[in-house]
Structure formats: structure tokens, C-alpha cells
């Protein structure tokens, strides 16, 4: 019914970007330096911080997701949306926001100071984990909340009619769901944290907090040892592959784009004590996630009036990159999803691996590899913006696929035969059937891709053209010129742009999926 080549082409492009660039770097290397003790220390630290980040994110998300799943309150929907903001926030902005709260001169230290206590020390492994939890708690909450909402309301009704208390409800209804959802959620966050770079550098407190990605950066920048960089890139892929293999029993969490703006009516959660626990969990999570954002906004308002007009151009370029990334994401993800859906079991397992590959690859290696490949043919700098859009589209593919695939499977299960019987094929099938049916997850997915690429700093310095700076780069330029207040203003503009893009696409998808 459906042609395979667009999906195969998308898969080939992803492989070329993820592994082809690694090969390009390796081929260009003039020698090989074996892994040294410092590299192994970096591997150990990467594993440690990623594991802790995953465990804490998932563990803390649990009570929050449960509260959101069973409580309906005014502003719940806005809270779910806002809580997603850290995930799409540019790292530098988020770190400054976190420091405004948890730093030595931050809010909490000031409160401690009132009681004569010393300021808290955020720098170190715990700071890195704290920042990663800040970024990924919303993602974990979303994944687990979706698991909760996937338990049909009728089952809770049945449980109530059988006189189940909270304990029985947990053991018989919720625990099986959590067993299926939690390992996958933890794996996703583990994978995201393995390529951490800027967070570890800003909050790590010193060379102890060296991640593999930082070691790769060092190999490129400090030693210019391409072979060593490629080797470390391979180590990174190996870590992710091993983690994925270990967690293979655990199914990866399905949909992230589904409707989360309803709560399931519950008969077992009426006790005041439980209500209190849920209220506390929700408030603490909201405070943890929103206070740093508030600090970014407060700092930014002071500087925003001093911003030069050039910030608009930078914002415009970021917007163009974001929209292009969103379009590219669609162009890659849809054919790939259709391909995975229609291919045989082996083919689809392979294609699915390909779709998730970008999580495991080092953005630095991709950047340098692309430069090596492109340079003989064109001026890489003149391609800075398209390349940024493309790489971001590919990098957001794993999240996008997670949103689209289950929805596609569901749509095909419900209406695939109808479409077949009417002879819908190719683009007609896409336009009349699939696009409208997938509008909601597609809105979410493109919003995510757009927001992530709006906040991206550019692949690496190699592709950056300061004269054509995007907003995040412009922010850095302001900082590098001592203009910290204006930089805070630019950070606020960036926050508004990223969040605005995400909300616009997400809402657009919901409107498109009215029926």
C-alpha cells in the first residue's frame, strides 16, 4: 500500500548523520591514542551522574504524576505545560536560573543566611544531578502521568465497587503499570544525560565532573586528536547501546504527545491525608521547576529594555531555524514511522533503533564530522543555519518518534482497513487520513523540535557565523562583551520564543485534532 523508499531514505540520512560523521572524523585521524585513565574516569563519572539523574528524576516524578493523575484543579493544564519548559530551555539560561535559586548568592542561601546558616554549595556531583533533574523531571512526570492515564477509568470504578482501598488499588492496578513504564522512563533520561556537557561544566565544580562529551571536546579543541575524539564518540555509542540492551525487557514508554489535560475520577483517594500528600507533591514540583524560571524572567525584565535592535534579527534567525527544524522533523519522522509500521519485524526493529540512535551520539562529533564532509564542497559557515536546523531535527527524532509511533499504530489499527478498502495510497493517504489523525502528537513533536532548536547554540563553533548569530549565540556574545544585563534580557526573549513555539505547535495540533 505504501512506498518504502521515503522511510528508507530518512533512515539512511539519520544513520549518515549519527554514524557517518563519526566515521568521517575517524578517517581523518592521523593516529590513534588509546583510552587513558582520565578517559575511564570520565566514563565512570558519566555513568554515575546519568544513573543518579535518571533515578532521582523518575523517583521524584512518581508522586507528582500520581497527584496530577488523580486531582483536578484550576490551572492544572497551564501547570502541565509550564512544567515542560525546563526541558526545552537553553542550558545556559537554565543554569543561570538554577543559580539564582540554589547558588551561593541565590534565594535559598539568602533565606539560610537569615537564620545565620552558611550558603548552600551547589557545585559538584549533586549540582549536576540537581540540574539534570530540573531538566528531566517534567519529561519523567509526563511519561509516568501518561501511564497513569492509560489505565481505563472503568477499572478504577470496578476497583471501587469491589471495595479496594488505596493499597489494593496500588498493588493491583498501579503497580503493574509502573513496572511497565518506569524502567523505560529511566532509560530515556539516562540516555539524555550521557551526552551532558555544559551542565556538567558549569555546575560540576572541577575536573572530577568530566563527562565523556567533555573529553571529546578536549580531544578536538585542546589536543586536536581526531582519532581519540572518534574513539570517545564510539565509547559514548557503546554506553548507550549497552544501557538500551540491558533495559530491553522494559518497553520504552510510548506516547508523550497524548492528552494529559484530564484527571481520572478516583474513589480510593478521598482521604484528607492523601489529598494533602498530592497537594504537597504538586506544590513542591511547581516551586522547584518554576522558581528558577521566575528568576530568569525577573532578571530579564531589567535588561530587556536595554537590548539593541539586533536582538530582533537574532530572534528572527532562531525562529527560521526552529520552523525549518520543525518542518524537517516532520519530513523525517513521518516516513520513518510509516516505514517502521509497515516493515516486517526485523526491519522495523532496525528502523526503530535507527530512530533512537541520535540520543547516543555526540553533538560535537556530528558537528566536526559534518564539517569534514561539507568543507570540500561548500563553505560550511554559509550553511550554518540549515545545518543547525537539520541536526536539531535529527536530534529531536527520538522524542518525536516516541510521540508519533504509538499514535500511528493506533490510527492504522482503527482506520487502516477503511483507508485500504477505499484505495487510499501515498500522499492521499497521508493528507486525508494520517496527518489529521496524528495532528495531536505531531503538534507536540514539531513543537518540541522547534523549541529545542530555537534554544540550540549551534552545532559547534565550526559552523557558527557570529555575523548571522542566532538568539542563543547572540546571548553568548552579549555575555562575552561584559553585557550581562542585556544577556539576561536576551535569555528572557529566548525563553519566550522557545516556550511560545512549543505552545503554538502543541495547541495547533490539538485544534487540528478536534474530532
Amino acid at each position: 500500500m505504501i512506498r518504502h523508499w521515503p522511510g528508507a531514505l530518512a533512515a539512511a540520512l539519520v544513520v549518515a548523520l549519527a554514524l557517518g560523521t563519526l566515521a568521517a572524523v575517524a578517517l581523518r585521524a592521523e593516529g590513534w591514542t588509546a583510552l587513558q585513565s582520565a578517559d575511564w574516569a570520565a566514563v565512570r563519572f558519566t555513568l554515575l551522574q546519568a544513573t543518579l539523574s535518571a533515578l532521582f528524576s523518575v523517583g521524584l516524578a512518581l508522586p507528582v504524576a500520581r497527584a496530577l493523575a488523580r486531582r483536578q484543579f484550576p490551572g492544572r493544564r497551564a501547570l502541565v505545560t509550564l512544567m515542560g519548559a525546563p526541558f526545552i530551555l537553553p542550558v545556559i539560561v537554565a543554569v543561570l536560573g538554577l543559580l539564582a535559586v540554589f547558588g551561593r548568592n541565590g534565594l535559598i542561601s539568602h533565606i539560610l543566611g537569615v537564620f545565620g546558616l552558611p550558603p548552600i554549595h551547589i557545585y559538584g556531583l549533586h549540582g549536576v544531578v540537581l540540574a539534570h533533574v530540573f531538566f528531566n523531571l517534567p519529561l519523567a512526570t509526563r511519561l509516568i502521568l501518561h501511564g497513569w492515564l492509560s489505565i481505563p477509568g472503568e477499572r478504577f470504578r470496578l476497583a471501587a465497587s469491589l471495595g479496594f482501598g488505596p493499597r489494593e488499588t496500588f498493588r493491583l492496578l498501579e503497580l503493574p503499570m509502573l513496572r511497565a513504564v518506569l524502567p523505560g522512563a529511566a532509560l530515556v533520561i539516562f540516555l539524555i544525560c550521557t551526552t551532558s556537557f555544559a551542565v556538567a561544566l558549569a555546575l560540576g565544580g572541577g575536573p572530577r565532573a568530566t563527562t565523556v562529551e567533555l573529553a571529546i571536546y578536549q580531544a578536538f579543541r585542546f589536543e586536536f586528536d581526531l582519532g581519540h575524539a572518534a574513539l570517545l564518540g564510539l565509547v559514548q555509542v557503546a554506553i548507550c547501546a549497552t544501557a538500551a540492551a540491558l533495559a530491553r525487557g522494559a518497553s520504552l514508554p510510548a506516547e508523550m504527545g497524548g492528552g494529559l489535560d484530564r484527571a481520572v475520577q478516583r474513589w480510593d483517594a478521598g482521604a484528607t491525608q492523601l489529598k494533602l500528600i498530592d497537594a504537597i507533591a504538586t506544590c513542591l514540583a511547581a516551586a522547584f521547576l518554576l522558581t528558577p524560571l521566575g528568576a530568569v524572567v525577573a532578571d530579564g525584565l531589567a535588561g530587556i529594555t536595554r537590548l539593541p535592535g539586533a536582538v530582533l534579527w537574532a530572534a528572527g534567525r532562531s525562529l527560521a531555524v526552529a520552523l525549518a527544524a520543525a518542518a524537517l522533523t516532520l519530513a523525517l519522522a513521518l516516513p520513518l514511522a510509516v516505514f517502521i509500521h509497515n516493515a516486517g519485524r526485523a526491519g522495523s526493529a532496525l528502523a526503530e533503533t535507527v530512530a533512537y540512535l541520535p540520543v547516543a551520539t555526540s553533538p560535537l562529533v556530528i558537528g566536526v564530522g559534518l564539517f569534514i564532509v561539507i568543507f570540500p564542497f561548500a563553505d560550511p559557515v554559509s550553511l550554518a543555519l540549515p545545518v543547525t536546523a537539520l541536526v536539531n531535527a535529527v536530534m529531536s527524532l527520538p522524542f518525536v518518534m516516541r510521540a508519533i509511533l504509538p499514535a500511528l499504530t493506533e490510527a492504522e489499527a482503527a482506520y487502516g482497513r477503511l483507508a485500504d478498502s477505499l484505495g487510499m495510497k501515498g500522499l492521499t493517504r497521508l493528507r486525508i487520513f494520517l496527518l489529521p489523525r496524528l495532528a495531536r502528537p505531531l503538534g507536540f513533536a514539531t513543537g518540541l523540535a522547534a523549541a529545542l532548536s530555537a534554544g540550540d547554540l549551534g552545532v559547534v563553533a565550526l559552523f557558527v557565523d557570529p555575523a548571522e548569530a542566532t538568539l542563543p549565540l547572540y546571548l553568548y556574545q552579549l555575555m562575552a562583551s561584559y553585557r550581562m544585563e542585556e544577556a539576561a534580557g536576551a535569555a528572557l526573549v529566548l525563553l519566550a520564543l522557545s516556550l511560545g513555539l512549543f505552545v503554538a505547535f502543541d495547541r495547533g495540533g490539538r485544534l487540528g485534532a478536534q474530532a
Binding site: 500500500m1 482497513r417 477503511l418 477505499l422 495532528a439 485534532a513
Partner: protein, 234 residues
């Protein structure tokens, strides 16, 4: 002979079903039997969603066994999901002319005529969610009219409707089949549907689809497998 199932052997996991019979042109045939006996499986094979293990399906002497569903000379109504929820009634019906929905003015006029004929004049801009169950069924019938295929397969499409409404719908289908000179196969678990709609009935039971037999005679003097299914109330 309109439809011919030639030593058809179907397999779905452990389940198998054999059929070897003919359906005369312009006939209305009920397909009844115990649940799980393979009524829907038989229709799925005729519609092209299930590849037979062996045997052939012929329409007016032409072998259609290898054709994809959309190319077969038939229309099918499923138990549910017969309409795309994001399209209006008019668009859903228009899919019968061309799935791309790029229609000429004259063709859109035909869509409106078809909607009027099934009693939905003026409701074309509604989406399925804003239509009742019976109205949704009528939209699907309008689409069938527009598709102009000579074989109509109905896989219990009205099972969720109340008895009176279901009777209305079956009468409408019968009228359309009669007027358009179509052949129709209706799957149902209710012998009353067979009595009302189909002069002929195929019994599917114990891994076999029997050749069509006159409905009244069959229900009046059922073979053992059918009798067990019908029970005392038949």
C-alpha cells in the same frame, strides 16, 4: 454467477475456515453462525485483508484473489470506524468518488444527491461526532452508493443500533442493493436480520462456510450446528 469462492482455505493462527460455493448475481445473502466461527474472517478474505492459504476468489468469472482491497469490485462496512472522525459527512461520503477529495463541482453535486437519498440532506457539514449512530451508518451507505461497486460486504455495521433503527437501516440497504443491482453479503449474529434482509443464508460453523441456502427453510429446519447456536428461542 457473481461471486465464486473456489476451494478457499483460510488460516489465522490455529483457526481455519473452508469455503467452496457460489453466490448468484443480485442476491442478498446473510452470513450467520456462532461467534468466533469465522464470519468476519470470511468477509475479510473476500475484501482482501486476509490472504487465503489456497483457493481462489472470482468475481463474474475474473480471479480477484491477488488484488489489493481498494482495487476489488466491492465496498465494505465494518463493525465500527466506518467514518473518519476528522472529516465532515460530505467529505466522508465523497471518499467514495475519489479518496484524494479533489472533486469537480458536478461530483460534489452527486455527493449531495447521495446524502439526500439516504436521508441526510442538510447534514453534510457535520462531523461524525455530531451525528447519531444511525446517521453515521447512512453516511457510510451514501459513500457506498458513490463508489458504485457491485458487491457490498456488511460486517455487522448496525450491531450497536436499537432494534427499530437497525430494521430501518437494513430496509434502506435492501432498497439500495435492489435499485443499484448490487450483490450483498451481511454478517450478523441475529437470525431476525437474516429473515428481514436476506432470501439466502450462509451458515458458518465448525470450520466451514456452507453454500447459501434459502433463509426461511434453513431457520425453520436448522442443521445441528446452527440449531445449537440458535437454541430454543429460534
Amino acid at each position: 454467477m457473481a461471486l465464486r469462492l473456489e476451494q478457499l482455505h483460510l488460516r489465522l493462527g490455529d483457526f481455519t475456515l473452508d469455503a467452496d460455493f457460489e453466490v448468484p448475481a443480485r442476491a442478498r445473502v446473510a452470513v450467520i453462525g456462532p461467534s468466533g466461527a469465522g464470519k468476519s474472517t470470511l468477509l475479510a478474505a473476500i475484501a482482501g485483508f486476509l490472504k487465503p492459504e489456497s483457493g481462489r476468489i472470482l468475481w463474474e468469472g475474473r480471479d480477484i484473489t491477488a488484488l489489493p482491497p481498494g482495487k476489488r469490485p466491492l465496498s465494505i462496512l465494518f463493525q465500527d470506524n466506518n467514518l473518519f472522525p476528522h472529516l465532515t459527512a460530505r467529505q466522508n461520503a465523497a471518499l467514495g468518488i475519489r479518496p484524494s477529495l479533489r472533486l469537480s463541482d458536478e461530483e460534489w453535486a452527486r455527493v449531495d444527491t447521495a446524502l439526500a437519498r439516504v436521508g441526510l440532506a442538510g447534514l453534510g457539514d457535520r462531523r461524525p461526532a455530531a451525528l447519531s449512530g444511525g446517521q453515521q451508518g447512512r453516511v457510510a451507505l451514501a459513500r457506498m452508493l458513490l463508489r458504485r461497486r457491485s458487491l457490498m460486504l456488511l460486517d455487522e455495521p448496525f450491531a450497536a443500533l436499537g432494534p427499530a433503527l437497525k430494521a430501518d437501516m437494513l430496509d434502506l440497504v435492501a432498497e439500495i442493493v435492489e435499485a443499484e443491482g448490487m450483490t450483498a453479503l451481511l454478517v450478523s449474529h441475529d437470525p431476525e436480520d437474516a429473515r428481514r434482509f436476506a432470501p439466502l443464508t450462509v451458515v458458518v460453523a465448525e470450520g466451514r462456510a456452507a453454500p447459501p441456502a434459502p433463509t426461511e427453510a434453513l431457520l425453520g429446519n436448522p442443521p445441528p450446528a446452527l440449531a445449537a447456536y440458535l437454541g430454543n428461542g429460534a
